[in-house]
Symmetry: D2
Subunit: 409 residues, 4 copies
């Protein structure tokens, strides 16, 4: 188990930190202002600041770092981990500036791995270039989508086309008009074996029958910065059969494959958020005086700071181990560890953010600090890609199986 950072990572890290201090942090407030002022009907378009940052990042080689192989920066997960963490410190701006923000990353990976040459040419290429954005349409309002087999959207073949009908919501990124392509999960084979009913299909945004109904809010946030979370209705939407990704019935397996890297990226960035929260908690605790001494000398607040440090250190190591396993034995071999970080990250980070907020008082919940919106985000990852409870249940089942095997040996 070796988590050392090599020369290339060190170089990129230095470059990235430089970029953060020189370009990202100084633009955070202006970026929020810009987003706040966007007017209808362009309300969801991207901001000029982001465009400038993307150019700068790309010129520094800080581009597509998430993507292994030749199509991307070719980093391993262990190499990418510390970089992703740093981008998490400025969650609203940095990942997108580096073309490393969800859901585009997962979609690019998916296309790189399962797309046909035509699909790659048409969609992966502009995504890698940062010319367009994308969305992944899975969650449905009518069913418990944590159980992917519940998905009800239908994808029915009709000659050379597939016809799609269904309703999706919380489709992150889809409010952004530049999100030109949606990967839609639905059922092609509703009577097949449970995990062979689903397929994934490419639906261009401007296809007839696609209706963007509204933006869902998370706590009170519309999350302009990442293209919001759309409710989308698909009514008799027709796309050519060539838009299917993989074969019919492979949707569930493809979704699973997509999740591994996606999850670890979420976790890495979340750790960056936690680190920033600790930094802010310490700074505020030093600055504020109550009842005759700085908050940083109050026992309870020290307890929070210590617990925050202890928890985030453990979490980072587990994420690194998972990254190392994914690099060495593959995503499947790291299955349990991926579940473990998916379980541990949201609650750990949420706890730290909650304490950082408390140290800030009401200000911590306001627009003046990144804490409240970060909390909202951390809260969502307690059900993004399935709620904690589902993952715990599955992890326990594996543990029980493993222990049974040991006993009988």
């Amino acid at each position: 188990m070796d988590f050392s950072t090599d020369e290339r990572t060190e170089f990129l890290k230095k470059e990235l930190v430089d970029f953060m201090y020189g370009h990202v942090y100084p633009n955070e407030e202006a970026y929020k202002d810009e987003l706040g002022k966007l007017e209808n009907p362009y309300a969801w378009s991207e901001s000029p600041i982001l465009q400038k940052l993307r150019a700068e990042a790309r010129s520094r080689g800080l581009w597509n770092l998430f993507l292994p192989g030749e199509e991307g920066a070719g980093l391993t997960n262990v190499q990418y981990a510390p970089l992703a963490e740093i981008t998490g410190r400025s969650r609203m701006l940095a990942p997108a500036a580096l073309n490393c923000s969800a859901p585009d990353t997962g979609n690019m990976e998916l296309l790189a791995q399962f797309g046909t040459e035509e699909q790659k040419e048409q969609w992966l290429k502009p995504l890698l270039e940062g010319e367009i954005r994308s969305a992944f349409a899975m969650t449905e309002p009518a069913v418990a989508s944590s159980d992917a087999t519940n998905i009800e959207t239908s994808i029915v073949r009709d000659g050379d086309e597939y016809v799609i009908n269904g309703r999706k919501w919380f489709i992150t990124g889809a409010m952004n008009p530049n999100a030109k392509i949606f990967i839609v999960m639905g059922k092609t084979n509703p009577t097949a074996e449970r995990h062979r009913q689903q397929s994934q299909i490419l639906v261009p945004r401007d296809t007839s029958g696609v209706t963007i109904k509204r933006a869902m809010t998370i706590f009170g946030y519309e999350d302009h910065y990442n293209g919001g979370h759309a409710e989308i209705v698909f009514t008799d939407v027709r796309v050519p059969v060539g838009n299917l990704i993989g074969g019919e019935g492979e949707g569930f397996a493809i979704a699973q494959a997509r999740l591994g890297p996606g999850r670890i990226h979420h976790c890495m960035r979340a750790i960056g958020m936690a680190e920033r929260a600790i930094k802010m908690m310490c700074e505020r605790a030093d600055e504020r005086v109550a009842f005759g001494k700085p908050l940083s000398e109050q026992g309870v607040i020290r307890d929070w700071i210590a617990e925050s440090r202890v928890r985030v250190e453990q979490l980072r190591l587990m994420v690194l181990k998972t990254a190392w396993l994914m690099d060495t034995v593959g995503n499947k071999g790291a299955h349990t560890e991926i579940q473990a970080i998916k379980i541990a990250t949201p609650s750990t980070v949420e706890w730290i953010l909650d304490k950082a907020i408390q140290v800030h008082g009401a200000a911590g919940l306001s627009q003046d600090f990144f804490l409240a919106s970060a909390y909202a985000y951390a809260r969502t990852i307690r059900f993004a890609d399935g709620p904690d409870e589902v993952h715990k249940n599955a992890l326990a089942r594996n543990e029980l199986k493993r222990q049974r095997a040991r006993r009988s040996s």
Copy 2:
């Protein structure tokens, strides 16, 4: 210790429940829509729906229930408790419809108790009539306001006037243009003994030098329904000396007196929120099926439901005991209990809301359910009127003192 509900309470309860089902719940969605559509420059004005409901409530005798004595409905705290709880179930609409919403309630109590006849005539009367709204301006951005002695706003006498300079924020209700009067806490005697430096003074909204800077958000919410949370700058604001409430140096004591009833009202309403969350959690758990059975048959979710019920029952009893003590031995005699419910309520209710959200999946964080905004509110009461930590510290100091007295007796 007797928490029984008497005949009058039973009557009001029945009337209130009837009002809730007949007028409040059916209007919740329309009310949110109406607020969402308010346009600048009237963005913060109140909605027509609220006005209609206020008329209806008043005609039913559901008006000023919070206020003891002849000026109000004359209920005891034990009588008011179950009614306030019911209004908490529709936090955005019901308390305001009954003219029982913070911060007006606290301000009316304060004026009823400490106001001069002129002050009452000018401000209390229209508040009781529901003609105007009000705000209480205490928290400041520059200092840890949990320690009220940190307050820096200056109130300097100059002839027959006081001159006020300072910056306040998170002033709930003040974005509403109908909040015609602000009670401002500042320092008249900065060199006096620590708790005799502060005074409270009435500042009409339209006084020269009062600038409403902006609306603070809580998580992403602007909280239109309650007039938002304003940042306000007071620059050489002049008001007649007659606007002082009580005498110079009495501000701290008056603030303390204001807090007792205010806190218990918060707690009562928060319990109503928790009850609604439990109701929703059960309903959703019954409806949703995952992995072959309804969520309501999953052990972990049952655990949450049971814990929620057990916790809220205990909390309600402690609030009732506190109400009973306030009625029988006075707010001062109930000091420890008021602290205790201030400590226990936010964390209990927050926990329940969190679990109800989790059962709802992403929907629970969205605008489609009351849960996320209720959570945001519950989170704020972890520092409203001072953070939990300050109250715990004080309660422990009392406990230690009490135990010491016992030992030496």
Copy 3:
């Protein structure tokens, strides 16, 4: 809901407190010493100190307070609650001194309610007189006894006798040779409906075929003070048919009836333990100085003291409400509340004891303070009469049912 203490309770409370300070607390150390020195083969007999205290308590009218009706002191649950709490402060000595200790109390209630005249004459009378002790044999090593239908001990009729075969453990009190009678739960009708298979039967200690195998320890404690926790084997044990309590198949229902009062008594006493722990925590925190100030001025310890007070107050109110319900609508009507206090009490009290221990350092885990043994006891009530998880599951089922009924109404 009225929890007031009436005159009789006030009188008994005063008398009991007087007895505690005059006789119980001063004898605690001597009692432990005496128990520690008991030699084989009388190792489990009762101590002379206890006998003296029983005489004193009885002479003061502090006797059989737990038992309603003419056979006992005739107190309601609301009357008994504060008295039981006081005895819990000296758990090892006070309940037994008042003839109010488990499992005798439950057994006496059971006999008073379901026993025949002969059974009462032979066993209830000497128990009420404090001449003998008793045990209740339910838990079995081979099955998950939290599900009472799992019980495997067989009770087979053979002419005028029942023949009992089975193995029981954790049979509290049974190591005491003066525990002359065991109430044994087993199956008479293994093929009947699930809750009609069980019966309860009286088995005198000295019946042939009864073997006391060994004392089970709880953490490292043998719990001499309450007659330990025995493993007992029943091999072809024959008792007359008249020893059956109630009819065949009524064992489950009788066990359920036994549990209600038993549980609330446990809870009342546990609250007394918690109060003593808080008292000790405060005292120790005042005495010990570390890093330049007494522990009682450390923020984290203040936090524990405050939380302890807040939690125990809520718990006590819920126990009182449950007592009041049992008095007014009966044990069945108080079913949910009995579950609720069974769920809330162990974890609350355990938490408080844990913190009190932490304030005492290693001493808190030793024989020098009552904390560690109290913790061990509190820990056991997380599964005594069924583990928390079973109760939570049942309470949630009821809540779901109740909410369903509301929705459909």
Copy 4:
């Protein structure tokens, strides 16, 4: 950061596992029986089984693995970590069998590092040979020993001797008559600077004036297996000046140096305990059926199993990182990490043990399973070497300092 196990470690691991299965596990019950039957006055002597196991372990090269350098096995901390973890699975027998049990390990390290040649010859050598045992006498009943500067035992020079007076308790191992040597911490220079007042001195057990008063219990355990926890009085105890370890005033620094490795060994073994608890929890959950299905299919129990796995994985990684830091940058450089594992380990392991106990029902608290005694041990490490709260406070102070440095750079 490289935690890989090298060839030598793999070899020792295999050998150790073999030894555990062949000799340790099969002897656990017999060992407990043997200890239970030891009669006065040899009550605290070691058992023949342990002697046999020590011989076997030594013959396999499983001896003094904890000690780096030539005097011991020469392993690094990263090499020793997985081995120590394995011994923790049978805490009562395995560490002692390998001559790797506290407090001997810390004492040997201390002598190896700070002892004179004479001290090493006289005490280190027989300790390394396993001929004698030892104790470390620091904690005092009269003061909060978590603050080492509180220590009151006096060490006064008188000619060629030091005269020692004081009272110590919870001196682990000292009840064992074979614990021939005590390292005593006291004050030689009570007026010096706070951390220069203390010295450490060797006191042979049989020195005149040394009185072993009694055995302290932990929960109800006397902990025979490790020589118990003694209260010891030192009355005018005289030892030659050559018995001082290091110089006068160096006691505090030496104690600090002793703690680093001691703490990480505790943590490693505690992880082994946790792993065994998880194993048992899974096994029991599979075996027991309640309410129609095995416990292992109940959601709440699955939740515990998953959380246990996730928590122990994170903890182990943090311990490994700490070991790696100690190996590469030294104990001082790993200071924060040593604190972090000292904070995280007890609560994590305690939580897992608590859940494993709950799955076992009452049996889990009894002598039939290792869980309850392991819990008692885990509970003690929440204050061994200073309570968690002291470590958290110190860790937070460092974090605040570190963050301050960053801000100003």
